[in-house]
Amino acid sequence: MSNATAGSAYRVATAVGPRGLPRLLAGVASDGAVSLVTHRTAFPAPRRPGRHAAADLSGIVDEAGLRGRGGGSFPTATKMRAVAGAQGRPIVVVNGAEGEPASSKDRLLLARHAHLVIDGALLAAGALGADQVVVCIDRASTRTVHAVHEAITQRASANERSCAVRLFTVPPRFVAGEESALVSLLNGGEARPTLKQPPIYVRGVDNRPTLVCNVETFGHLAQIVNFGPRWFRELGTAGEPGTMLASISGDVRRPGVCEVPLGTPLAEVLDLAGARVQRLQAVLVGGYYGTWLAAADALDATLSNHSLRRFGAGVGCGALVALPGSACGITETARVLAWMAGESAGQCGPCLNGLAALAGAMRALAIGRAGRATLTDLHSWAGMVERRGACTFPDGAARLLRSALTVFAADVDHHVRHGVCVHFNSPPMLRVPAGGPPGPGDWR
């Protein structure tokens, strides 16, 4: 298959990509990692690109319609062009912080097929003229850290280093993966968000233009260069092409990661993990930073921003949690909100105080100690934290809360009138990381 793209530096991409599914997970065994030798049978080593490479590569990525898979669904080509247009030698950062508890796909892809991700980052680095790639990984994921270390070592022994690739471990905090927090950490500071002025694509790591993309995004980028944008568009929808890694958990028989085309009905995605649809009460779409959907709405929607928009939701990082009818959505949300309040970086007043207030009121509602006034407070405080932080973490907490009050409206009413519900003591479906809130030294 040939690609008649404008990208002269990459026009030779004639390899035949995998038909159907899986793509990113093709050749990935149930255990162990794809070695460099095996990887190179399908993917040639990224070569040093010629002139106009930045324009060529962003053109190809644009043609493919690739959007970031870390949660923001931002067009990757736009990001690349912004970095290319800034002054100075850029740096490329692979964001594998994955602080979202419901997501495990970045860890999986790095642990099983780090070479694909690193190739994607090197292709972007080559095109942008960057001399460094930094792979950031949650420190708690020792297996992933080990796999990436091994992958970098294999490349060094094969004399394959078109630019320096290094590994950087990140504290296991929710907001550590926020771009500006990551840049702050890489600059020797704490993994807390900063005010992005000037933006990090102008001045990020070492004051250089910095491209930060999600792990999965770089995996897609490598495949787009190798197999072409038309191949990429063979799956997914016209507006949201390609596949996505979905992390599925909760009331399912086989929790884990599935690769599906964007636009796949959520019912099918849940079925892949062995969801028990008959007893499904709701689905949390986009993880703890996401939105609750009532079962009927979820089973009517597809995994695409186009379909989820009418519920105020989006695909986010592709994390789905199935909540059974035997669980209490109020109690589940209260537990997550309490954890999120503890994960606030504590820098912005509305986030520090507002999330604690929201979590307290939600807990009161869960344990049956809330009246109508508590509901008024919850709505009012949700509005008081939105768009008032340096980052959008408080907005996520407010979104989760608002969707819970809507989707579990009947339960809210029951809790206010009669106290706790019969499901109060059900086993937790939405797990929160152990270890409690961070102390002052836990941000590096």
Partner: protein, 72 residues
């Protein structure tokens, strides 16, 4: 018919909720339930500019600034 106006912007990280701004510029700033400023995002008219500037320069944390926006 000016095409360039000023809006007030807050650095939420620098702000520690002393509330002086809301006292000096109640026309455009109110405090939330925890004492942190909620700023009206609308451009500031000339009749309020003196108050706005005094408010910005009185913030002990230097968390406020006036920012130019283009458009009417």
């Amino acid at each position: 018919m000016s095409t360039e106006r000023l809006v007030m912007k807050l650095d939420p990280i620098a702000c520690d909720g002393r509330g002086i701004c809301a006292e000096l510029f109640p026309e455009r700033i109110e405090l939330d339930d925890w004492g942190f400023p909620i700023i009206d995002p609308a451009p500031i008219g000339n009749h309020l500019m003196k108050h706005a500037r005094r408010c910005v320069s009185s913030c002990p944390m230097l968390a406020l600034r006036l920012e130019r926006v283009v458009g009417g």
